[in-house]
């Protein structure tokens, strides 16, 4: 009996270091999301009629591309314990910019560049208010969410621009030749690689985690917190602007209501992918898996004939479970551990 409880106590103390390497690699949040993704894919392929088709890959990745793209800068922003709620409104602002310039006869290449630049400018406004004025990003971007959306809807009113050059719209819908993979994935993979390298393999990236864990400590360790955050908001705006251009071409329409609510899908996927809303932790591969997971669940359920409202409920439940559940289990674990420490039954 004495021996047993000693053993238990020793185990408790040793846990962080006694875990085997394979466990440390596989039992991460990211690995769990990737595992869940694989499981959902396998199940869907075997259970849902017509899921097992190249068309699924094409449609899924094409529709998810804007979310995948914006999730990259969003990951970095949330790791620094900030947030950008205005991304979907920036998508709309960019879309409307492209639409108006095209309608009024500007060269389409210029319109696309302007879409990205307007996005970057919108991001700079967010960044300025957060870093220079010093307001919390939650408040700033709730405001700019409404403001950018209002400007977008105001500029085009109830009209929509739907006439875009065929070469560009077909490029947005094209696949990489010989594969069912949309061409936009080339852009995404390049961007994802850049973001992953910056986040995981540069001092700038390590600085982001440091800011998220303890902003003051990061500041005194020589991280330029304000400049870092400003850059992130501008990048977030620019990527959202690019996503807006793609969105416009993919769906063939520019209107103020475009991408309404997309910020929630993006943030939900980022959190599902293992990024902590309290900053300081997260990884690009987990986020990509998170976006794909939500997208595939929706796609499979749609194919299975489940209606949109039910799909929203199911997706919401999965997200709530994964976020609330982790806190609950952490609490459970702590109370078990303290019970063991008091010499209670072994867990």
């Amino acid at each position: 009996m004495t021996e047993l409880s000693t053993g238990a106590r020793r185990e408790r103390v040793m846990i962080p270091h006694s875990r085997a390497l394979w466990k440390r690699v596989t039992l991460t949040r990211e690995a769990a999301v990737i595992g869940m993704l694989a499981l959902v894919i396998v199940v869907a392929m075997n259970v849902v009629p017509n899921f097992d088709s190249p068309l699924t890959v094409t449609f899924l990745l094409r529709d998810l591309a804007p979310i995948l793209l914006i999730a990259l800068p969003m990951t970095l922003i949330i790791i620094t314990e900030e947030i950008d709620l205005s991304v979907a409104s920036i998508v709309a602002l960019s879309s409307v910019t492209v639409g108006i310039l095209t309608r009024d006869g500007a060269p389409f290449e210029l319109a696309m560049v302007m879409g990205v630049l307007v996005g970057a400018a919108a991001g700079a406004i967010n960044g300025f208010l957060v870093t220079v004025v010093g307001l919390p990003s939650l408040a700033v971007t709730i405001g700019s969410l409404a403001m950018f959306r209002g400007i977008s809807v105001g500029l085009l009113g109830t009209q929509a621009v739907t006439d875009f050059p065929d070469t560009w719209t077909s490029l947005a819908r094209a696949n990489i030749p010989g594969t069912p993979v949309p061409a936009i994935m080339v852009v995404f993979v390049v961007l994802a690689a850049i973001f992953a390298i910056v986040l995981h393999a540069t001092p700038f990236g390590r600085g982001l985690y440091a800011i998220g864990l303890n902003q003051e400590a990061a500041h005194f360790s020589g991280v330029n917190v304000a400049r870092t955050k400003f850059v992130l908001f501008v990048v977030s705006g620019a990527v959202s602007g690019f996503a807006g251009v793609y969105f416009t071409l993919l769906y063939g329409n520019a209107r103020g209501e475009n991408a309404t609510g997309m910020e929630l899908a993006i943030i939900a996927a980022v959190l599902l992918g293992g990024v902590s809303i309290f900053g300081g932790r997260g990884a690009i591969h987990g986020v990509i898996a998170g976006v794909l997971l939500i997208g595939i669940i929706g796609s499979a359920l749609r194919l299975a004939g489940v209606t949109a409202d039910i799909i929203n409920v199911i997706t919401g439940v999965v997200l709530v479970l994964s976020v609330v559940g982790t806190s609950f289990l952490a609490w459970l674990q702590r109370s078990r551990a303290s019970a063991r420490a008091r010499g209670g039954n072994q867990g």
């Binding site: 039992l27 769990a32 869940m36 009629p49």
Partner: protein, 348 residues
């Protein structure tokens, strides 16, 4: 402590994954029949037909799609209804894609934008899916057939006939319209004037007033009309806001039972006025018939008996035979007249 925390998260996500997977299995089992293209029914033709309304939870489309389901049950196809929760063209795209993946025979769409859905519908058509639009059309080159609910001549004539019947074919009438520059209403008013001049010599159109599709303004204009023309026998309001406001004024005034109110309205809006006798009859198209006709048009396209060319004709069950007009449009017919006898059958 930190890594333990993570491990627990991992385990939890695993549990969530299993739950999700189980959910998917159940969903697949429960709805597999509906989602499977009905390759074996209706001979060689793939009569799996998907209805895609502008949005779900809309009583108008519940009615029209029920009509579609009725028709599809009659000819032995497979009916499926999908749609976004909010009415936007972008959110309809993923459902068009799903229909392509499922390999359905035909897609019946009410488009949230005339042009924005074209690329997706083109993809569907090149994958062999027949595309029928109803209620709200796309550009003609993006679909095979459009089921048009009503045309201006019919709308104008039926409204004049309703007021004529109400006032006994003679007397003063006025029109309570929407905004003064409303395109649809102005076209109808012109046709109503022509119809009265041509066929109703004893009816005098004394005035056209504009309620701007605002309830209070329409209500005030109705009051003013009755002040100005003490002998006014009837009011035609070719707009759903106007007819309801006019009926509400008449209901509580001394003119109830003396002045006929008619025009275009929806059953849910007009029910109390019809039930208490303020309004005898009003018109709109019947969405159930619209969905029913769309389903039969889809069937004819899938079976290859028509291509959507002008002059093609097809059978539409209880509605009889229809012929495709210019631009691949099929006209449902005259507006449907709602009255005390049939209003209980409608909920939209």
């Amino acid at each position: 402590m930190f890594s333990r925390h993570i491990a627990q998260r991992g385990r939890f996500v695993g549990v969530a994954a299993l739950t999700m997977a189980a959910g998917l299995v159940l969903a697949g089992c429960a709805t597999g029949d509906a989602a499977e293209p009905a390759a074996d029914s209706g001979g060689d033709a793939n009569l799996a037909i998907t209805f895609l309304p502008k949005n779900l939870g809309n009583a108008y489309f519940d009615t029209s799609n029920a009509g579609g389901a009725e028709a599809i049950a009659e000819f032995g196809g497979t009916y499926q209804e999908v749609g976004p929760t909010e009415a936007s063209p972008t959110s309809q795209v993923s459902f068009i894609q799903t229909a392509i993946q499922q390999g359905v025979g035909a897609l019946v769409v009410s488009a949230n934008d005339p042009a924005a859905l074209c690329d997706s519908l083109d993809e569907a058509r090149s994958a062999g899916v027949k595309v029928v639009t109803f209620d709200s059309d796309t550009n003609p080159e993006c679909r095979d057939i459009f089921i048009n609910q009503a045309e201006a001549e019919g709308i104008a004539r039926v409204q004049v006939e309703m007021v004529a019947e109400g006032i006994g074919g003679a007397g003063q009438v006025a029109i309570l319209s929407a905004a003064a520059n409303a395109t649809n209403q102005n076209a109808w008013i012109e046709l109503m004037q022509a119809e009265i001049a041509a066929n109703w010599p004893d009816i005098e159109l004394v005035d056209v007033v504009y309620g701007d599709d605002d309830d209070q303004t329409s209500f005030d204009r109705t009051a003013a009309l009755l002040q100005t023309y003490p002998d006014l026998a009837g009011i035609i309001s070719p707009t759903t806001v106007g007819i309801a406001a006019a009926a509400r004024y008449i209901q509580t005034s001394e003119f109830k039972g003396q002045v006929v109110v008619t025009g275009l309205g929806t059953p849910n809006q007009m029910r109390e006025y019809v039930e208490d006798g303020t309004v005898g009859a009003f018109a709109l198209w019947n969405p159930a018939d619209l969905g029913y006709l769309a389903a039969y048009a889809a069937k004819a396209l899938v079976e290859g008996s028509i291509t959507g060319a002008e002059g093609d004709s097809f059978d539409a069950g209880r509605l009889g035979s229809y012929t495709v007009g210019a631009d691949g449009a099929v006209l449902l017919g005259d507006p449907f007249v709602f009255n005390a006898d049939n209003i209980a059958d409608f909920n939209f």
